[in-house]
Amino acid sequence: MASSRRSMDSVQSVQIDGLVVLKIIKHCQEEGSGGTDLVQGVLLGLVVESKLEITNCFSFPRHNDDDEFDEVQYQMEMMRNLRRVNIDHLHVGWYQSTVFGSFINKALLESQFQYQHSIEESVVLIYDPLRSTQGFLSLKAYRLTKLMMEFYKDGEFSPEAIKSSNISFESMFEEIPVVIKNSHLINTLLCEMSEMSKEKPDYNCLDLGTSAMLEKGLRQLMSCVDDTASEANKFLSYLRQYQKQQMNKSQHSQKRQAENAQRVQRGENPLPEEDLNKIFKPLQQPSRLDSLLLAGQIDNYCGQVTDFVSQSFGKLLMSEGLQDDSQKPQ
């Protein structure tokens, strides 16, 4: 218990039980209608030294908005029940499925902030069912950086705030390496199974049907870039307005000064100082959070595309090698 209360810096890696992985996959498969709907659940486990061990999880049931459903009540109930059967019942984060990695948004930020606010070491596991069906198990653990936590806590997303807190899209989330750990029994079982199956080398994994995935990625990137551009436009127009106002302000104050000087010469009392903010209402500063998130999202997409492309290249080279290899004997 004491170890779990150490600072979050100590958590260097996440160790996930095979059970948890399977449970998440099962949940997505059964309720996420093949990955198009988002599913969420709670992770349970504990912190051991610098390792966050996730040993169990349970899912949030689906419910319609109009149903009366108390999530907190449900979680408490669930954990109490698990405790009774002697399973780890410490809340260490949550998981969520995603479609093509489009998970960086306000909702995720908000809930992860809440989690980290109450449970320091909590993480969010992002599982991409579509990529998993293609043979890459895509399970990533994220948490908000310290910087981001403070930044979000202040609740001010003006350009100045971003500047002062020195935050950028790269320093919003940090990924924690994930290790999947199985018990020795399972490992032996797997070894045995692999020995049992005496199949020919399978070249299916060299499938080069890449364009569809790439196209999807590109499309998403495009919409993101569009959004970012419009955000930039908003910011630009704000800046222009701001400039204009500043100019007006300075003109006004100059005029006032000149008038006061005249008055002093004539021996009258100078005009009282006015609150400039009253005359020129300060402009609403645009929130830059959206563009931050969008930038993060773009970054994420780009990473995905790069991953995908490098894998594809690998496949290409491999298949080339295989072809050469197969042609040689003939």
Partner: protein
């Protein structure tokens, strides 16, 4: 069937006239109609005095009858009428003194009222209306009698004195009396008017009729009809459904309610009174006409002078308030017959005829509504008569420039004032109004349309008559009239086979239009003639002539400066031009011609074929009236569904290949917004069933075409439903259908090549020809054209008859990447602009901008290079 309709027609007319009567001048016009008939029978000249006195006497008689049955409300109304009639007779009375019988009547009435008032039992038993009427009558009478005190006294002193008493000293009092009685009576008439008791009054009227001798019927009925009229107007008043309770309760009620109601209805009463007065003044001024039944005294010599004088006399009544217009027409006609019997020469007849026409046009006081059908018959027949007369007697010069004084109607050469052209033009306008007024799908319309022939014939006749004797300006006008009656008519196909006796419509049009082109000085006539000419060309599939004329005239540039009817004609012409182009297989031209009309979705309004409901701004009634007047008669309409279908099919034939060619282009433009709108609408539907409407057919065809399935496309466009709806409306439907089929084949081939070229390495021409059932030469030419236009990156291999694809089109992924690059560069631009502001302009401009610009240029160059690579 027709009989049934006809009868219903007359019914509707009569009812409409009744409506007019009720709303405007209830009694007068009906009375006039009546007197009209009477006039036919006997015409008696009576002096104004007699007339007035007769009027008074009639009312008095009526009053007496009502008194007998104690119908107080009617007595009251009679009394009011009497007051008014007396007021009208003021002139006579001023001269003659108050007639004895009038005073007697007043005295008797007073007695009667007093008697009734005293009779409390009787009063209790009276109906509410009656008791109210009695109260009002009593008050009024008292007031009224104050002005006649002296006469009444005289009368009471010696009732047996003769009728013709001169009592000049009282005249001045009387002058005030009438107006007083009218203005002070505010309260009285209200109660009466509102509470008129329909049931009883009717029976009363009937009863009185029985009592009366048959001779007095005519005059009597005018008054009784009035009361009936009022009864009718208020027949279903609440009072009718109220239970009539005799006795105390009703009386109390009446007393209680009276003042309140009076107040409420005061306003309306004032108006009623006004109305009544209006009626009555009309009666008196109108009366002289009706009292002048005889044209000439028996012994007067009927000569030119007398007839002219008489004519002027009749005509001078024109336009005056209360002149009976139908009366005038018949008078003029009689005059015409008199002049004919007396052989006064054609000029006199012409002059009178002109006046008859004018009177006919005057008959209808409202310009917006059309004339009655019987009036129309008279109109058209008199017009033909007039023109015949003019043609027959070549020595008559009729012109609007001849002044009345310079007329020469006694000897040849005759000179008559009047413009036959204007009359004809007015008649055609009237004809259009008649057609506008009737339902386009009724037999009535067909009946009306039958008059089109005589009108056209008349115009032709007039044209012949005027050739050589009219000014060029007038000639232009009559030619244009002729053109306007000719341009929209199709030469029927059976006439083609028969050797033409007369010249064809084309030649006529050519001749007429050329005349106008050369001679006309006003721009408007020439524009109209030109548009009609183009229209006519287009109707007859002379596409190139029509197009050239349209282009040469530069009408498209300045049509927006012309008046609305001409713009409508222009729209019609453009539509016809588009349809013509479509028939000729000029799909692009058809689309271009129709796109303006069709794009706003207001084709109906633009072609003046109906009013559209506007959601944004309501039309004012005047605006609506004006727009309604512009509408074309139904037989000139262009079928809107045909128009839309032609437009959509042309749009489909252009747009679908274009869409296939530019699938990846981010900045591709829509050729036809309307077509896209229709497509989107169908996509929005959750379930698309088999096509029903014309639009659905076109949408389904478009979808089939997208995949290059020309057979399905063709069956969607050309099938029985569409034939019945659209294609059969063309006059050479089969030619059009064949044209559409071949166009669909060609465009489907293009679409197919655009869509699937990336799949093929090479394509065999023969296979393509088989697939699209086109000749190989056609396929070859289409593909060659596509290659030349750089739409298809391929080359033809002659020896093997194949098309080899070059595969230079960017793949989907590549084009996506290009788009992304474009967007990113946009974003970069944005960011740079932000930088500019942040950095401050001066510093930035000096040090940075050059570098950035270079960067940008490099970017652009790189993009271009990329583009070129693909």
């Amino acid at each position: 069937m027709s009989r049934f309709f006809r009868s219903s027609d007359t019914e509707s007319e009569s009812s409409s006239s009744e409506d007019d009567i009720v709303t405007k001048v209830p009694v007068v016009s009906r009375a006039f109609q009546f007197s009209d008939d009477e006039e036919e029978a006997k015409r008696v000249v009576r002096s104004a005095k007699d007339k007035r006195y007769d009027e008074l006497k009639n009312i008095i008689k009526q009053l007496k009858n009502h008194k007998k049955i104690k119908d107080m409300s009617n007595v009251l109304s009679d009394f009011e009428d009497l007051g008014k009639a007396f007021e009208k007779a003021r002139k006579v009375v001023d001269k003659e003194g108050i007639p004895r019988f009038y005073v007697r009547c007043l005295v008797e009435l007073e007695d009667f009222v007093n008697e009734c008032w005293e009779d409390r039992e009787g009063r209790k038993q009276m109906s509410k209306n009656n008791s109210k009427g009695l109260g009002a009558l009593r008050q009024k009478l008292r007031k009224y009698l104050r002005d006649f005190e002296k006469q009444v006294q005289d009368y009471r002193e010696n009732p047996m004195e003769g009728d013709d008493d001169d009592e000049e000293e009282k005249e001045e009092d009387e002058a005030g009396a009438g107006s007083d009685s009218d203005s002070d009576d505010d309260v009285g008439p209200t109660t009466f008017l509102k509470k008129a008791e329909p049931k009883e009054s009717k029976t009363d009227a009937a009863g009185s009729d029985d009592d009366d001798s048959s001779i007095s019927w005519g005059s009597d009925s005018t008054v009784s009809s009035e009361s009936e009229e009022e009864g009718e107007a208020r027949e279903y008043d609440a009072s009718m459904f109220l239970k009539k309770q005799p006795g105390e309760a009703s009386k109390k009620d009446a007393i209680k309610k009276q003042p309140r109601q009076d107040k409420k209805k005061k306003l309306r009463t004032d108006r009623d009174v006004d109305d009544d007065e209006g009626e009555w003044t009309q009666v008196t001024t109108g009366a002289p006409m009706t009292e002048k039944p005889k044209m000439f005294a028996k012994d007067t010599e009927v000569n030119h002078e007398a007839v002219t004088k008489k004519l002027n006399e009749i005509v001078s009544a024109r336009g005056k308030k209360g002149t009976d217009r139908s009366e005038q027409i018949s008078l003029l006609q009689e005059l015409l017959s008199i002049s004919n019997t007396n052989n006064l020469g054609p000029a006199t007849a012409t002059k009178i005829m002109f006046n008859i026409m004018a009177a006919i046009f005057d008959y209808n006081p409202n310009i917006a509504t059309c004339m009655r059908s019987d009036m129309w018959d008279i109109c058209i027949s008199s017009l033909t008569q007039l023109i015949d007369l003019l043609i027959e007697h070549k020595d008559i010069t009729a012109s609007e420039h001849i002044l009345e004084d310079n007329e020469q109607i006694e000897a040849s050469p005759y000179r008559v004032r009047g413009c036959i052209l204007a009359v004809t033009e007015r008649t055609t306008e009237e004809f259009t109004k008649m057609l506008q007024a009737c339902d386009a799908h009724s037999t009535e319309y067909v009946d009306r349309l039958k008059d089109e022939k005589p009108i056209s014939a008349t115009i032709v006749k007039l044209q012949k008559y005027m050739e050589g004797r009219a000014t060029t300006e007038e000639m232009c006008r009559i030619y244009l009239k002729r053109i306007e009656y000719l341009y929209y008519k199709v030469r029927s196909s059976d006439r083609l086979s028969i050797p033409l006796k007369s010249e064809s419509s084309e030649e006529i049009m050519e001749h007429l239009c050329k005349f106008i082109y050369t001679k006309d000085s006003s721009d408007r006539l020439r524009t109209r003639a030109m548009l009609c000419h183009i229209y006519h060309h287009a109707m007859h599939d002379r596409w190139y002539q029509a197009r050239d004329l349209m282009l040469m005239s530069h009408l498209q540039d300045n049509i927006q400066h012309s008046d609305v009817p001409t713009q409508i004609l222009y729209n019609r012409t453009m539509v016809q031009l588009g349809l013509c182009a479509f028939r000729q297989g000029m799909i692009k031209d058809a689309h271009n011609a129709l796109v303006d009309i069709q794009s706003g979705g207001r084709a109906k309004e633009l072609l003046a074929q109906g009013l559209l409901l506007q959601r944004q701004h309501e039309r004012t009634p005047e605006q609506e009236k004006i727009e309604k007047r512009r509408l074309l008669p139904y037989h000139m309409h262009i079928n809107l569904e045909l128009l839309e279908c032609v437009y959509l099919v042309s749009a489909m034939l252009i747009e679908i290949p274009y869409m296939a060619a530019h699938e990846m282009d981010a900045r591709r433009r829509m050729i036809s917004k309307n077509f896209h709108h229709v497509l989107r609408m169908s996509e929005r539907q959750t379930l698309t069933g088999p096509p029903e409407s014309m639009r659905e057919h076109v949408v389904a065809a478009s979808k089939a075409m997208k995949t290059g399935d020309w057979r399905a496309c063709k069956t969607f466009i050309v099938n029985e439903k569409m034939n019945a709806k659209v294609w059969d409306l063309f006059h050479q439907a089969d030619v059009v259908r064949d044209m559409i089929a071949s166009k669909i084949q060609e465009e489907s081939l293009r679409t197919y090549l655009f869509t699937y070229s990336s799949v093929y390495d090479s394509l065999c021409l023969n296979t393509l020809a088989d697939m699209f059932e086109l000749k190989k030469a056609v396929v070859h030419s289409i593909i060659s054209k596509m290659i030349i236009n750089e739409e298809l990156m391929a080359s033809l291999d002659e020896p093997t008859q194949t098309v080899a694809m070059h595969r230079t089109e960017p793949s989907r992924l590549q084009s996506l990447a290009l788009q992304l690059a474009e967007k990113v560069s946009q974003l970069v631009d944005n960011n740079e602009r932000i930088m500019e502001i942040k950095q401050g302009n001066l510093f930035y401009q000096k040090n940075q901008q050059g570098g950035y610009q270079q960067n940008q240029q490099q970017w652009g160059r790189r993009n271009q290079r990329q583009n070129r690579q693909y």
